[in-house]
Symmetry: C2
Amino acid sequence: MGVEIERKFLVVNQDFKQQGQGTFLRQGYICSDPGRIVRVRIEAERAMLTIKGLSTDISCSEWEYPIPLADAQILLDTVCQQPLIEKTRYRIPLAGLIWEVDEFIGDNLGLIVAEVELESEQQQFERPAWLGEEVSHDRRYANANLLKHPYKDWA
Amino acid sequence: MGVEIERKFLVVNQDFKQQGQGTFLRQGYICSDPGRIVRVRIEAERAMLTIKGLSTDISCSEWEYPIPLADAQILLDTVCQQPLIEKTRYRIPLAGLIWEVDEFIGDNLGLIVAEVELESEQQQFERPAWLGEEVSHDRRYANANLLKHPYKDWA
């Protein structure tokens, strides 16, 4: 188990694409209740099962287990809630931290968010130029919520 | 992934205890929706995460992953739905098959069920003398249902 401390922001332009590589992610949720999240994710050829427990606004208990790719494909297609979440994730190193920028497609097309993992809730960090408003405390941006209330319906 | 074909029966006396050894099981459910079951189980010092997909009456898609014992203990205590299911499982070899007899405690005290895993839905098998009524088709006996409707409330 680890405790994740993450801050999440909107992204105001596409300049981040010059700063890091993108990989395609396909993920789904077997369970998306607050405090009981079970996620299946395929990134490139790597598959992972992740369990998330109760979270405060920006920290969350999390357990991750690698699983066979073939299992993940069947779990995504037959067990997970539909539709799946699909996005390209860019990993961008900046001033000793790694920013993960997710550009969504499908029902969440148009949404781009950036996350950074910190060691404490108070840790200072350098803001990239493309960083916009912080949405760490806005539950609508949680991927498990994007399932039920996709970005295309926010208007 | 495997497809499990199981038949489940009530048990009419305690003679089975002379035919096999018992180990204590503690298990809980992160998700217990039909078609989306995520179970955490500790048996002796071994911990397992199990996902079950949609099932017919007696067959079910199932994926099992071993996880660290310490993770399972925290998952059972902080993430799983409460109360947990606790039971002693006896493994009884008979005529080439293994019968698993579960004697429940806690909210399901008094309930004893026997399960056998078969290779096809038509496979014949020898009935042990302590075997009672078949309950394969009775959803009340599914462990995920015993959580919500424990045996003590059946009257």
